[in-house]
Amino acid sequence: MRVKCLFFATYRDVAGAAELELELPENSTVSALVRHLRAQFATSALPTSPVVAVNQVYASLDTVLGDGDEVAFIPPVAGG
């Protein structure tokens, strides 16, 4: 299945891109995706337990992903 990853602020600098499409095994969790990305970027700048949103709703790391899901990686917010 394919998922779309979105990166913001410091995470965007780490990923070197605002958006990334990835092929993942069926029923992968957010945790598995995080491990995949940390290996791919070869960096610890993406934490092992980042805040994420799945399809624009804050979600836990054990959330099971589906095909076409949009997973956003959310560094500490600082609006206002």
């Binding site: 949103a53 624009q56 917010v77 600082a78 609006g79």
Partner: protein, 138 residues
């Protein structure tokens, strides 16, 4: 209710005008402005980045929850994205209510929750040449 993330300049007074109904006796308008210093460093400009679709959704939810728990009328919120100079408006929140008590506390709750929950980020560019994404709300 009106929640907007925009790259265009914000006109706070328009938000204040649009929320008032004849039953309202008070309107509180909070305006966040880019200031020229932060933590002792001279700031030259700010960049705001947002996860726009989600930011609007979270803002709407905050406003709906605040309306459910406070005796207020209409609410309007706008947050800017992109490059902002000193003195430019980064955020404006207008709350109308029959009585001022509810208007003040609703206004306060919206800005506090916005800073904690809405996916928006801020990068400060300093007069000494550096630049930094801020790591959390202040």
């Amino acid at each position: 209710m009106f929640c907007l993330i925009t790259a265009d300049p914000i006109d706070p007074s328009q938000l204040a005008r649009q929320v008032r109904r004849d039953a309202d006796g008070a309107v509180i308008l909070f305006t966040g402005v880019v200031r020229d210093h932060h933590a002792g460093r001279a700031v030259e400009a700010l960049e705001y980045q947002a996860y726009e679709e989600m930011a609007v959704a979270v803002l709407r939810q905050i406003c709906e929850e605040v309306r459910a728990t406070h005796d207020v009328g209409d609410i309007a919120v706008a947050h800017r994205v992109g490059e902002l100079a000193i003195g430019e408006v980064s955020v404006a929140i207008a709350v109308a209510a029959p009585h001022r008590d509810a208007a003040y506390s609703a206004s306060r709750e919206i800005i506090e929750r916005l800073k904690r929950e809405v996916p928006i980020w801020k990068r400060e560019r300093y007069s000494d040449g550096g630049a930094e994404w801020l790591g959390g709300h202040d």
